[in-house]
Assembly symmetry: C2
């Protein structure tokens, strides 16, 4: 309801989960969904779904639920993905390639505008219409493309130096696949994808149940 209220991070992540689920409902031509089915896929109660949405407004109808396509639009507006975000990808190795080949980003509001690498055999080539530039051209290409988000898919040891260049060049958000924590100016946002940490979570949980 109050747009300026502070949003709990767990709520924010669940909004993405609701959106994924709603997109599936939409494809199946399901026109309405109540909080119960939306909750089912997020390991929370239905009250939490309603509470999460209530952080931003009243979108449901009592006795009916939420209109699927409306709520999709609303969530995209909340998350800011009704507009298309320009993204640059640093590192065109195996992971970078996988990201360029994944078409889901574009559908969801994120367009990879350019990729960068230091491998001279790659520079100048394109992958899925994404041109690979020399890392030397990082600043100029960011400037030209007006990209605001960067995905870091480089070896960890280069991550901090590249991050410094990215923030100086005006990048406002960084998604980091490297495992070391980055230092950034306070106005820059960073989020981490640590696949190993997820595997460790599984290892712990499996181990704990097998004493």
């Amino acid at each position: 309801m109050n747009e300026n209220e502070k949003i709990p991070i767990p709520s924010l992540h669940r909004l993405s989960a609701y959106l994924r689920q709603l997109e599936i409902f939409s494809i199946r031509n399901i026109s309405h969904a109540s909080s119960r089915p939306l909750a089912k896929y997020s390991k929370v109660g239905d009250a939490t779904v309603r509470r999460d949405l209530a952080l931003f407004g009243k979108f449901g109808r009592r006795g009916v639920g939420y209109e699927v396509n409306d709520l999709i639009e609303t969530l995209r507006r909340i998350l800011g993905t009704q507009q298309q975000w320009g993204v640059v990808l640093i590192g065109a190795g195996a992971l970078g390639m996988a990201l360029m080949r994944y078409s889901g980003f574009t559908q969801r509001g994120f367009k990879i505008l350019a990729a960068f690498d230091t491998n001279p055999y790659m520079i100048g080539t394109t992958v899925e219409d994404v041109q690979i530039y020399s890392l030397d051209d990082l600043e100029s290409v960011i400037n030209k493309t007006a990209a605001r988000i960067a995905i870091l898919a480089t070896p960890s040891q280069y991550a901090q130096k590249i991050t410094n260049r990215l923030t100086t060049a005006g990048i406002e958000g960084i998604l980091d696949f490297a495992t070391s924590s980055l230092e950034v100016p306070s106005q820059t946002h960073v989020t981490y994808v640590d696949i190993t940490a997820h595997l460790e979570e599984l290892s712990f949980q499996i181990g704990g149940n097998n004493p």
Copy 2:
């Protein structure tokens, strides 16, 4: 301290973060670390680091801090990654390729023993010593290799059916890159990596600061 106490998931994830940081300290030959530097890289206070570790025991020395290599060993024992876990990879597309080529898993206790795909041109080939099998052979290879963890890197629409086969075949933990939520037996553990959700988090945070 109490091994059977329930561990908060956020604490568990931070243990992985501490471990990453300690591995870096170890490489730099830093022998001791106090809770402060470990906290610095996890956006929490130093008391939280001590609290997280206290869930499992007393590992520090007052006035000194924690012995880096000892704590690495302790965290690996807690997380269960002193042993090597056998992992199967479902889907040898761009993402699966990237995962096979990433050497960090093996160093951290996770060994990809086999990969599966439906593409006949890939079946029978190997990538980084990992053999790619037909999806038809899923059960027999899981049985032969005794893998306990699976990584799902297939298109979303196949994820649930494959998951059913995985759990029947005895897989105990699943790391899912697909975006739809999986139904699994209660004893099976699942964790999700949703890259789009991370980008949406950035979009929200950048948008919120630029009204």
